[in-house]
Amino acid sequence: MSVTLRPVFEPTRGLRSDRVTHYCPGCTHGVAHRLVAEVLEELGVLERTVGVASVGCSVLAYNYFLVDMQEAAHGRAPAVATGIKRVLPDRVVFAYQGDGDLAAIGMAEIVHAAARGENITVIFINNANYGMTSGQMAPTTLVGQRTTTTPLGRDPAQAGYPIRVAELLDTLDGPAYIARGSLHDTAHVLQAKRYIRKAFQAQLEGRGFSLVELLSSCPTNWGLEPVEALDFIRERLVPHYPLGELRKPEGVR
């Protein structure tokens, strides 16, 4: 009996294999990209997807995803995605946003896209700081966390409290699917992928707005080794940002 090798894991066709991302070593932005691309590939919609990149470390996402894309202004990806989806209701439209982009400057746009039940999917990368601009405080920065604009640690009396975006959006009637996952270990990566798949499925079924928040690492600005950065997610972020599905369309398990 001869033995052959059956593929267990191969790179997705949804990302360009000819380009290496600009992300720092161990940054889980790369994992999130892969999960989205895998889901789009598995759903068979790569050819009819339009993505929206936002301003943050993922600003160059359009260089990696093998789908048509638009680059949005800082914080405005949900508005841009809305414009696209209204013109092309039968295409799959997603926005990929960081926590500065979505939860600071873009708060109005995400709340209203969600309230409208806009039939788009938002992938929300919560890495508790502004990665791209070298580590300033984000709306999701934890109390006490040091950043370049909270050099002594975030003091809520001065700089306020972190925002739980998934919970905030869950007060609205528009969303069909809201979940928070994490990328800090393989089990959670696989769970995150299931969330992402359900989000896109909700869109394909025309159920309305879907969002997956992903706790993600920023080893560079956290000043941690990549593996330590995953520990930081598990030990510090997860307790403050509970994981799970907050909103599911009826009839979805």
Binding site: T4, G26, T186
Partner: protein, 76 residues
């Protein structure tokens, strides 16, 4: 052929796969690749069980995983 293949040129040497491998089969090379990183590799092929978890955590599309199967009658 190894169960796990690394596209070493893409590897950024972050070590996530190394720490994620439940079998301790992976390690990083001494020598840097063109980008200046120390790429991961299958240091102990015998330990690998093709679970695929190294690929699941890799942010950079470096890893392919295969599982050896008996080459039975081709399925129709």
């Amino acid at each position: 052929m190894d169960r796990v293949l690394f596209d070493a040129a893409r590897c950024k040497g972050c070590g996530l796969c190394v720490s994620a491998c439940p079998e301790g089969a992976l390690a990083q090379r001494e020598e840097a690749n063109r980008m200046g990183y120390h790429p991961a590799y299958l240091a102990e092929p015998a330990k690998c069980v093709s679970c695929g978890l190294c690929a699941v955590i890799c942010p950079d599309l470096v890893i392919r995983v295969y599982r050896p199967v008996a080459a039975a009658v081709p399925a129709r």
